[in-house]
Amino acid sequence: MNPGVGLGASSVGAGPRVRPFDPASVVPDFPVLSQLVHGKPLSYLDNAATTQKPLAVVEGISHFYLHDNANIHRGVHLLSERATAAYEGARQAVQRFINAREAREVVFVRGTTEAINLVAQSLVRSGLKEGDEIVVSVLEHHSNFVPWKMAAEATGARLRVVPITDAGDLRLDQYERVLTSRTRIVALGHVSNALGTVNPVAEIVRLAHERGIPVLIDGAQAVAHLPVDVQAIDCDFYAFSGHKLYGPTGIGVLYGKAGRLDALPPWQGGGDMIRSVTLERVDYNTLPAKFEAGTPDIAGAIGLEAAIRYLEGLDRAAAFAHEEELLGYAIERLERVPGVRLVGRGAPRTSIVSFVMDEIHPHDIGTILDGEGVAIRAGHHCCQPLMHRLGLGATARASFAFYNRKEDVDRLADALDRVREVLG
């Protein structure tokens, strides 16, 4: 589906405990899904905003607080040792999941946004200056646009924005033009959160590396829907959030090649990120502690590991295939709803379908669908530059996870008829 990203055994469950994938049988693993909203069964199609959590994640967090809670590192008592082992174990689980070379290349942060801010602000501290350029694309989520804009404004550096085609595809040819000796970093989303477009990240990394330019990939929308192998992509940084990967909110990951992370100065100071402190001098800790100032979200990391282990217990290749089938079915069904126009027709895509409906505002669509038990998102999806480029104020967006089924798509399409009844 995505060139350069192989179905590596490390990131797709292939171990002995893997159970065959069946969408109906995974639904009970997610207790929140089995409820009525407004008296109707819930069809949760807002997975690009956040995914639901399997019971294993809820129980993993709860077990930590009930039995092992203590602060990590430097503790000399049993609970602290357990908590430290669990936290560092979570780091290893992430390393395995994204196939990082070393565990110290995994930095725990609050989420994708913080990961990108970390790199952007560290870049500012490492001497970003007037005349330097940062390359982003018009597809980016605000979290992969605003931190770079702030870095540019603070230093006088210039933001270069790669355009897209009318279909919502990145203009690859433009990278050849904008990547120059002035480029300090390229930042790009792996999957567009507004359109679901899968960008050819490995190819862009190759183009940038030919010129010695590092690349940060915003993987927020990718990790749950594609096998991600950071060594195969060869990116310098990869950012993602736990809560879009069936884990808890408040925890996320910045992967960085050890050499790149070593070269960056820390951006937050505090406990744990230092080796020694005197009144005259501070020596920073090694990776990954250098970037983890203060007590981290220990329970969040443990919850993230529980999510990863849950996913490793599934036949992920089959789960991805199911998601792809759902997307195809959704496109087919929605195209038949009178007045519906799909936004972003680029290929390949994953798990997201964005649409507009005649003159009906997406907010009205969202409210009426909610009344039918169908949860979607309506708005600019934190992509105002993209919406502006497409000449739209907002879209309605349905986004899928492996626990969704064809009947959820049917309920979405039927509810759109109801929208027409009320507002048409």
């Binding site: 505002h361 997406p362 907010h363 009205d364 409210t367 708005g379 600019h380 104020g393 907002a394 507002l423």
Partner: protein, 148 residues
């Protein structure tokens, strides 16, 4: 769920489809732009005020059914009224769509009372109040209004 018909009442749908007082107001002397960052909706309110009276008022912009109908009904409601009375209407309208008002006040709001159902839909309160925030800016300092 509160009945959708409570939200999308006939009067609201009518004003959504055929908004009143829609378009520019060349003779206007008070203007403000309003923005709902939640959905990106933007609208502009123009008013012509003389001797403390809103002689004419019009609006422009794109938005959802609720925000458009609210702007349309608002312009109908405040046209010809003293500025101070428009301010009072704003306050009562805002109370109606947020915490609720008694029957007497609801009745005094006339057609605006069709928005009483909005209170049951917290995510849509800002849609209903955007035009009013913008009108208040136009009558006040003219700065851009935001629902945030």
């Amino acid at each position: 769920m509160p009945d959708l018909r409570e939200l999308y009442q006939e009067v609201i749908l009518d004003h959504h489809k055929r908004p009143r007082n829609f378009g520019p107001l060349p003779e206007g002397n008070r203007h403000a732009k309003g923005h709902n960052p939640l959905c990106g909706d933007r609208l502009t309110v123009h008013a012509q005020v003389a001797d403390g009276i809103i002689r004419d008022v019009r609006f422009e912009g794109a938005g959802c059914a609720i925000s458009r109908a609210s702007a349309s009904l608002m312009t109908d409601a405040v046209k010809g009224r003293p500025v101070a009375e428009a301010q009072r209407l704003f306050e009562e309208f805002h109370r109606m769509v947020t915490v609720g008002v008694d029957d007497e006040i609801e009745a005094s709001l006339g057609k605006l009372s069709v928005f009483c159902g909005v209170r049951e839909f917290p995510s849509r309160v800002k849609c209903a109040s955007l035009a009013w925030h913008t009108l208040r800016s136009a009558l006040g300092d003219g700065r851009d209004a935001s629902t945030e």
